[in-house]
């Protein structure tokens, strides 16, 4: 392990950090959208940002990490690359699943918006109904009172 360049001792290039920042910002913005397709794009962009982050964590590029070569120049750290490969495969699977979900949602409802929770909406509507009922009750009482007054007035 000592041969490998570890991230603790070295710093990645600034360009990589810049790219990670931009991708991260774009991905986060897309993730906050309502449409599942945009969220999906956000996930893809954001996970690429994270993949680059993992690569950057391995330090600057060195020579290929092969034991047979004779030079003494510092080797590239192979572990982040292995991790990135795993992460890419996982992202691929999740992307496929999200695509299927967006398609199914479009099949069922004609759009792929992420909807509000049904219960939350129900509570909101219940509150509105409650307000409405209170208004009606108040109105009825007012009318009844007015009627009483009318009756009293005519007798």
């Amino acid at each position: 392990m000592t041969v490998l360049a570890t991230g603790a001792a070295t710093t990645p290039t600034l360009a990589l950090v810049g790219v990670i920042g931009v991708l991260g910002a774009v991905g986060t913005t897309l993730l906050l959208e309502r449409s599942l397709t945009r969220i999906l794009l956000g996930v893809v962009v954001l996970s690429n940002a994270i993949n680059l982050l993992i690569l950057a964590a391995g330090g600057p590029a060195g020579r290929p990490p092969m034991l047979e070569t004779q030079t003494t120049a510092p080797m590239n750290d192979p572990l982040p690359q292995a991790m990135v490969l795993t992460a890419i495969v996982i992202t691929l699977g999740v992307t496929a699943f999200l695509l299927a979900m967006a398609y199914r949602s479009w099949q069922l409802e004609g759009n792929d918006e992420v909807r509000d929770d049904a219960e939350d909406r129900r509570i909101l509507r219940a509150a509105e109904h409650g307000d409405l009922r209170a208004q009606i009750r108040a109105e009825r009482e007012r009318l009844a009172r007015a009627e009483d007054d009318d009756l009293r007035g005519t007798s």
């Binding site: 392990m1 490998l4 570890t6 991230g7 603790a8 993730l31 599942l36 969220i39 996930v43 954001l46 996970s47 994270i50 982050l53 993992i54 950057a56 964590a57 391995g58 750290d77 572990l79 982040p80 991790m83 795993t86 992460a87 996982i90 699977g93 999740v94 699943f97 999200l98 979900m101 199914r104 949602s105 069922l108 409802e109 992420v114 909807r115 929770d117 049904a118 219960e119 939350d120 129900r122 509570i123 909101l124 509507r125 219940a126 109904h129 409650g130």
Partner: protein, 551 residues
Amino acid sequence: MVELTGHLVPLPVVLPLLAAGLRLALGRRWPRLQRVLSVTTLSVVLLVSVLLLVAADTHGPLVVQVGGWAAPVGISLVADRLSALLLVVSVAITLAVLVYSIGQGMVDGEEVAPLAIYHPTYLILVAGVATAFLAGDLFNVYVGFEVLLTASYVLLTLGGTGSRLRAGATYVVVSLVSSMVFLVAVATIYAATGTVNLAQLAERLAELPPQLQLVLHTLLLTGFAIKAAVFPLSAWLPDSYPTAPAPVTAVFAGLLTKVGVYTMIRTQTLLFPGGSLDTLLLVVALATMLVGILGAVAQTDIKRLLSFTLVSHIGYLVFGLAVGSVHGLSAAIFYAVHHITVQTSLFLVAGLIERRGGTTSMRSLGGLATLSPVLGILFFVPAMNLAGIPPLSGFLGKLGLVQAGVAAGGPLAYTLVAGSVVTSLLTLYAMARLWGYAFWRSPSLAVAATPGTVLESPGEPALTSAYGPEETVGPASRRTVTGGATTLGGQAIVTTARLPRTMTGATIALVAFGLALTVLAGPLTAYCERTASELLESGDEHPTLAPGGDG
């Protein structure tokens, strides 16, 4: 003997994956054989886990370097007391739920298209949970999480109906975000220390400057807290769990959040043992308990109510962890075991209720205690257990937590003790309310309770009125309620007067397991104490790199 059991460590991961592959390859052929295959696999895994538990308790942690690569580079699987215990409980739960869902599938005659993937996905979920528990490095914890989460996405949206997609979208996006936060944490930790091996991390993280430690610590805890549904990050859970099929919700409730708690325990004891952020965790635990249980009290749907109690009781686990003492941690571990069992049984009972009554809405149910006394008992025992009525295991767990809190002292700890007692009482209230509505009142009341009449009764939150005029016509409209009675595939359920024997049997077994935890509380508490002291005292000697483990 030690050598032999050492080789067993990868089996809880490998066996379910193999069985899942076999089931996928077999497709729809020989359904009976396939059911036997799934049940046998999980039974064998249960046996293996018990062996691991015994071995880890007597001989210390078991370590396997997968593929023979040495620890810092290769993948190591570690079974210590904590992971072995949680593994045993998880596998026992999943086995019971598997039998239950086989019963449900047989009754509904569902071996058709979307359901052909149910069992393989379920087995992959088990493999993912086992990976997360056994992983000896941070990146494999991430892989384990992803395996179980991806399986859970499929299970949650099974059948692809509208309501499940809606719930699934929230769940998938939130889980993705939590995974990304976790992955960022893994990357930054690697950048800072040059390793992802838990044992090496324990040494190297301690050498970092405190500010950097705080950043990494917060990143990790945030990722795990979303998965564990700790308060400000818990809103996704009650929105997404109730729409899934009953067995799926049951296994999610039992396992997924607890895997998050397990990783939080590892973070606090192994990676960042200094007790920093404990105060924050205490505050968050209090908020989780109170907000969760207040949500539960307001619900009228049984599954949603149970989802809220699930969130609320995660607070107890975080409380025990944040107290930071051996007693607190051991009580938290005991409580985790208890809560996995009880919460899963309650969700299974909710599935039985919806099969008997055609709905899980408390307002439309009634008289279940006379209609089906077995169902009454099956609900009553775990409900009282959850509320913490002595002498059940819920009471013992809460007592342990309260004692640890009092021993810790200080105003915040006392507030938490008070908060946990209040939460316990409110849980009892929520359960009693459910019992009163669904089980005790006369069945005629429930049938007569058209949404209009319920609406007029004073002091009641008029939730039923809000379905909209087009949906509030009669009993048939109850099918449109979220969390209403649906089969695994998402079709409306056919209610039966007689409960399917396999489903009832599995539920009875699980409730009995919960009672067994009460009977065996003595040995179990002793085991949890040993686990907690192992975690807290030898924090920097995580066994991954132990010389005996190079197998």
